[in-house]
């Protein structure tokens, strides 16, 4: 993953728990250096090690840590240098999710190592939406759940996660989220 993800994780821990806690996480994780460059591609293992150690140190399960990170990631993306781009994707949750793949497509033309996830609204009604999430990565569903909640919050859209279903897939992750909007 790009360093911007690791930086955001560090920012979340320091914002909520302080520098000392982050240094403890760094030491325990075995990651040698936290001078992450935003646009440098780091091994996914670095991010997994930081996330799992964060969960251990905070005494919460990994899912809860990733869920919280989903919230933080959206919040920081909407306020950093990429805010204009993020705001251009859509004016509401549905429009945003519909256009997100298009944004990922464009990013892929510049960052050649970029392997983004895919989001598809496969059902849409007055009551809600059904969203598929596909990724070659494993274990990030709680992060996506946090992200979807934070997106809805950003657009002041009330939402309720009705169900989360792991879909059969040969490799990677395929999750289906049923979301009530109302």
């Amino acid at each position: 993953m790009y360093g911007i993800i690791n930086k955001s994780l560090r920012e979340m821990v320091i914002d909520h728990h302080g520098e000392v806690m982050w240094q403890q996480i760094m030491t325990l994780s075995g990651v040698p250096d936290d001078s992450f460059l935003s646009l440098k591609s780091y091994d996914d293992e670095v991010t997994y090690a930081l996330a799992s150690t964060t969960a251990d140190v905070l005494g919460i399960d990994l899912g809860a840590a990733l869920h919280a990170f989903g919230h933080h990631w959206l919040k920081s993306s909407m306020s950093n240098e990429y805010a204009v781009l993020m705001n251009s994707i859509g004016d509401n949750l549905v429009e945003f999710l519909n256009n997100l793949n298009s944004m990922h497509d464009r990013i892929s033309s510049t960052f050649l190592d970029y392997r983004p996830p895919e989001f598809k609204i496969i059902e849409q009604s007055a009551e809600g939406i059904v969203v598929d999430y596909l990724s070659f990565r494993l274990g990030l569903s709680p992060f996506v759940e946090g992200l979807l909640e934070a997106l809805a919050g950003h657009f002041a859209q009330p939402m309720e996660m009705v169900s989360i279903e792991a879909m059969p897939v040969a490799s990677g992750t395929h999750m289906r989220y049923s979301i009530n909007l109302g």
Binding site: G3, I4, S35, F36, L37, S38, L39, N80, E81, Y82, V84, L85, N87, S88, I89, G90, D91, E95, N99, S102, M103, D105, R106, I107, S109, T110
Partner: protein
């Protein structure tokens, strides 16, 4: 193809499409144009008149003229200021003009706040979103680099602070070790005078040797720290290279003569010009190399040389070398020779091998000079240490002018009160101050100083105050002085022969604006005066250039004649007889006072008189006597009472030094 079908296709490729008649009005428009420029899209306003076009160059508007720019980029800024387009024009089959484009994203990003075109308003082939991503990324990268740079600077600063603390601790410990060690060495010396069995005498010799080595290590370590601190602040000065080399040879002569070794100058025997550079560092490097060469040469000669390798427009490249006839260094040890504590490299010279720190210090001196010291050696034949550096040549006339100009730049005026309990110091430093055109008053105690301030008609600009006076020390005297009306914020400078960091620090924390070590160096005094005295354009210090270039040399460990030569230069030769006479008279009094203190076993008094004698004897170049007195003072400070018989031995050293001083004075007169 009818325009309707054409436009339907174009809507899929461009978000801004406008069909424009020759009258300039839009007949059909895409949704994005309707959204941002409704009055243009509905035909109320002419298309080209509603934008200012930055491109094409020279385009002034109008549908017909636009067609002469087919194939060119159009960059238009809406006159409403909240929208911009980029695109091109084509001509349809029916002759109408069609504008095809997209919102000009970067212009809007930079100039319109609160309005962000949506991703869906850009066709997928348009790369402006990629451009925005790239620009956002660049900002992120700059932020990253700045954050990393801040981290690095913070880490560097932390390391530097840590280094300072460690170095300060190390220096402090070294200083603290030196005093008791001097006590050990003196005690061992005294024991050796007692009747001893052969075995005890041998053990004592080993103990003395080890203690000497340890003292040497401590002294070198302290010198090493001083090199680091001093070299960073070292300034360039003008100097005569021939004289500098000859000085080095003169300085080494006494030791060479003792060993019956010949010192020879080789290389270029006369340089065509004088030079500008870090003279003191160069002297130190050569002096260390020469000392080493003499030390390791049992018989024969030692060569000190310099060669002009290259005469450049701005700099001359010069090679310096010292060649000895010592035992040489085996090839496998050459790389380690400059490492700190690299010892055991030579044998058979009959000399102590030393601590291995001297060459390490030379390496650092030469590095500060911009060179690199190297060694070539043949076992059994000798070694040559050399380095090449660049020096800026100046004419010899310019050397004189430069020295004069430097001196003339020191424009000072004002009144100085000098306070010291020793008449010699009052006379000597008073002469120094007067030679700088200052008005000087003197006082020999704190009480006398206060009286002088109260009775003086005109105020004093600066007070130079000795810290170690018998009745009232400098700290108490400074407090009394500050209680005199008008002197609460006086500039008071501390003078002391104690150079320990804690004394210096205490002085600067309590009462004093600056600390000057005794004996006072003229340059340091001038820098101090320039800092605290008012400047005056009316008075100019007259330089004594001729004297500065004509120092006499009379140097060995009993007596360093360069000190007297320097005094002659600073205050004038005519003042020397009186000064030396005062010194001899006062030294005799202090000597008797020290003897009495030892007899009465009064440690405080021993410290005071040993300190006074040490600082005055050193101020007149009596190196051995001053060093022994300083050791006595340090031991007394650490609580050990020196033996009276030591004073008798010391009197021989002092007598020898004084006889050489008097002989030198005769030659100067």
């Amino acid at each position: 193809m009818p325009n309707t079908i054409l436009l339907d296709h174009l809507y899929q490729l461009f978000s801004i499409v406008a069909e424009i008649g020759d009258d300039g009005y839009v007949s059909r428009a895409s949704d994005v144009l309707k959204k941002y420029q409704p009055q243009v899209a509905d035909g109320s306003v002419r298309f080209f008149e509603s934008f200012s076009f930055k491109r094409p160059s020279g385009f002034s508007g109008g549908a017909q003229e636009s067609r002469s720019h087919i194939g060119e980029l159009f960059l238009g800024i809406a006159k409403s200021g909240d929208f911009a387009v980029r695109g091109q024009v084509i001509q349809a089959q029916d002759g109408k003009t069609i504008f095809l484009g997209v919102p000009w994203l970067w212009w809007m990003h930079e100039n319109v706040s609160g309005v962000t075109p949506k991703l869906s308003e850009f066709p997928v082939h348009d790369v402006q979103m990629d451009q925005l991503l790239f620009m956002s990324t660049q900002k992120t990268m700059v932020d990253d680099v700045q954050a990393l740079n801040a981290d690095l600077m913070a880490t560097k600063s932390h390391l530097e602070r840590t280094n300072v603390v460690q170095q300060s601790f190390f220096n402090h410990v070294s200083h603290e070790m030196r005093s008791p060690l001097n006590g050990v060495i003196s005690a061992l010396t005294l024991i050796s005078d007692e009747p001893l069995s052969d075995r005890v005498a041998e053990l004592l010799r080993l103990a003395s040797h080890s203690a000497d080595r340890l003292l040497e290590v401590i002294n070198f370590s302290l010198e090493s720290a001083a090199v680091e601190a001093g070299a960073r602040e070292e300034k360039v000065s003008n100097f005569d290279l021939d004289m500098l080399i000859d000085d080095q040879l003169s300085g080494g002569q006494p030791r060479a003569l003792n060993k019956n070794i010949e010192l020879i100058r080789s290389g270029d025997l006369e340089f065509p010009s004088a030079y500008q550079g870090q003279q003191r560092l160069l002297k130190q490097a050569l002096a260390n190399l020469l000392s080493n060469a003499i030390k390791f040469t049992p018989v024969g000669s030692v060569h000190l040389g310099a060669e002009l390798l290259e005469h450049g427009q701005q700099f001359d490249r010069i090679r310096f070398y010292v060649q000895d006839e010592g035992p040489g260094i085996p090839e496998h040890q050459l790389e380690k020779i400059f490492d700190p504590f690299a010892t055991g490299l030579v044998s058979g010279t009959g000399e102590s091998q030393g601590t291995g720190l001297g060459l390490s210090i030379v390496k650092r001196y030469v590095k500060f000079l911009g060179g690199e010291v190297r060694v070539d050696s043949i076992v059994g034949a000798g070694s040559q240490f050399s380095f090449e550096i660049e020096l800026r040549p100046i004419s010899r006339d310019k050397l004189i002018e430069a020295v004069a100009a430097t001196s003339q730049a020191r424009v000072l005026s004002g009144r100085v009160l000098l306070v010291d309990d020793l008449q010699t110091n009052l006379y000597l430093n008073g002469q120094l101050l007067e030679s700088l055109q200052l008005t000087v008053a003197t006082a020999s105690s704190g009480v006398e100083a206060v009286n002088c301030l109260q009775q003086s008609d005109a105020p004093f600009d600066l007070i130079l105050l000795d810290l170690n006076m018998p009745d009232m020390d400098g700290f108490d005297a400074a407090r009394k002085i500050r209680s005199v009306p008008g002197y609460a914020n006086a500039n008071i400078v501390a003078l002391s022969a104690y150079t320990a960091d804690n004394m210096r620090q205490r002085a600067q924390e309590e009462q004093f604006v600056q600390f000057l070590s005794k004996p006072i160096q003229r340059n340091e005094l001038i820098a101090c005066l320039e800092r605290w005295m008012p400047a005056s354009a009316a008075e100019v210090v007259v330089p004594e250039v001729a004297e500065a270039l004509a120092d006499d040399h009379f140097v060995d460990s009993d007596y360093d004649g360069s000190v007297l030569a320097e005094l002659a230069k600073n205050i004038g030769r005519d003042k020397l007889p009186n000064l030396v006479s005062k010194f001899l008279e006062e030294s005799a009094e202090q000597w008797e006072a020290l003897r009495l203190a030892l007899q009465e076993r009064n440690l405080d008094s021993v410290v005071l008189h040993a300190h006074t004698l040490a600082s005055t004897t050193l101020a007149f170049g009596l190196i051995d006597a001053g060093t022994q007195l300083r050791q006595m003072e340090n031991r007394a400070l650490s609580g050990e009472l020196p033996h009276l018989t030591e004073l008798d031995r010391m009197s021989q050293t002092l007598g020898l030094g004084i006889s050489k001083l008097q002989a030198h004075l005769t030659t100067l007169g």
